[in-house]
Structures are given as structure tokens and as C-alpha cells.
């Protein structure tokens, strides 16, 4: 299994508070991704990174920001959490453009 960890694994937070999710990899892969998974919507790409300090938006990026200051870590921040951001968040990594992605175990976030 690819070395990907996500922290925290579960979090409950209140509307309006900032939240940061962390993805850490030990594979030295160039590409990293953040997805959210919701019933009826499948997997939707939030943001991705194609190198240190190189990031771009995915299809559902509003309300989220990311940072990647080193190869192994990709942070997802909800600046002011809303109930619509209650979801399961997955991080994924890939070593080559367009090739298979390997997924982390997920973070279940509940915004009350």
C-alpha cells in the first residue's frame, strides 16, 4: 500500500471555524489531490498540486484553500466551515501525470 496518511481521521467542528486537514505521503510523488465524497455525487476534485508550491483549483474549490510547502505534505483549509462542507475528504497521490492515483484512508468532517 502507498504510504499516505490523513489527519485527523474524524473531526466535528462548528460553523464559522477554520479547519485544516493534512495529507502526508512517504512516496515522494509529485502529484497530490484533495477530493470530497458525498452520496449521489461520487468523488469531486477540490484542489490539486503538481509540485511544491504549484497548486490549482478543481471543480468544487469555493470555500477551500490549499498549500504545499514540501513534497510530502498537502494541506486543505476550510477558511470558515459551513454545513455544506460536511463530507468525507480523501487525499490522493500520483507519481506520473495521468497515471493511477493512490488514496488515503479519508477524513470524516462534520460541521454543526
Amino acid at each position: 500500500d502507498a504510504g499516505i496518511t490523513q489527519s485527523p481521521r474524524h473531526k466535528v467542528t462548528e460553523t464559522g471555524t477554520p479547519v485544516t486537514l493534512r495529507c502526508h505521503q512517504t512516496e515522494n510523488h509529485r502529484y497530490m489531490y484533495w477530493y470530497r465524497q458525498d452520496p449521489g455525487h461520487g468523488l469531486r476534485l477540490i484542489h490539486y498540486s503538481y509540485g511544491v508550491k504549484d497548486t490549482d483549483k478543481g471543480e468544487v474549490s469555493d470555500g477551500y484553500s490549499v498549500s504545499r510547502s514540501k513534497t510530502e505534505d498537502f494541506l486543505l483549509t476550510l477558511e470558515s466551515a459551513t454545513s455544506s462542507q460536511t463530507s468525507v475528504y480523501f487525499c490522493a497521490i500520483s507519481g506520473q501525470e495521468g497515471h493511477e492515483q493512490y488514496f488515503g484512508p479519508g477524513t470524516r468532517l462534520t460541521v454543526t
Binding site: H41, G42, Y48, G58, H99
Partner: protein, 115 residues
């Protein structure tokens, strides 16, 4: 627009029966194709992938998939389903250049296995 369609949201099969999960894609270039499986509460696990060459690819857990360019399909098959195969299955498509590695995922098919 690029898209992936999994026509079956939910499928139920009996244990020991054969399985076929459908995947159709719309993609302008020659695609890279993937099938993933997700057990409840888990992340996605790669079952198999197709980049080029032999259109019938073998994966883990006894799964195989066939790429049919003329039908824009990449269907997943298994000759004999086990109860442990109950999970959600996702088809995905990517491309090797100019797309920063993004994959497009289908909506998923939930497989239920009857004893």
C-alpha cells in the same frame, strides 16, 4: 466535455454468479482507464488499469476489464463473485499529458452480494 458514465447505480448478484459492471467514457484523446473499489469506511483501492496494448487487462482479486475503443467502454468483469466483493466500484479516466494528472470519476456502482 470529458465524462465517465456508470449506468448502474446499484447491482445485486448471487454469490458464485458472474459479474459485469459497465463503464462508458467520453474523452477526446486516447484515455488511460482505471477501476477502483471502495469498501465501507475505507479509501479507494486500485483494481486494475489500462494504458495501451492488450485490451483485456487483469487486476487484483480476480477482476478483469476489457477496453473497447469502438464502444468507448471499459467494463469490469469477474467470473465468480464472493461475498467479500460487496463494495462500491468506480471507473475513472485520465490522460498522460497536458492535464496535470487529473482523473475523471464515474458516479460509482454499489454491488450487493446475496448469499
Amino acid at each position: 466535455a470529458q465524462s465517465v458514465t456508470q449506468p448502474d447505480i446499484h447491482i445485486t448478484v448471487s454469490e458464485g454468479a458472474s459479474l459485469e459492471l459497465r463503464c462508458n467514457y467520453s474523452y477526446g484523446a486516447t484515455p488511460y482507464l482505471f477501476w477502483y473499489v471502495q469498501s465501507p469506511g475505507q479509501g479507494l483501492q486500485l483494481l486494475l488499469k489500462y494504458f495501451s496494448g492488450d485490451t483485456l487487462v487483469q487486476g487484483i482479486k480476480g477482476f478483469e476489464a476489457e477496453f473497447k475503443r469502438s464502444q468507448s467502454s471499459f467494463n469490469l468483469r469477474k467470473p465468480s463473485v464472493h461475498w467479500s466483493d460487496a463494495a462500491e466500484y468506480f471507473c475513472a479516466v485520465g490522460h498522460g499529458s497536458g492535464n496535470t494528472g487529473k482523473l475523471i470519476f464515474g458516479q460509482g456502482t454499489t454491488l450487493q452480494v446475496k448469499p
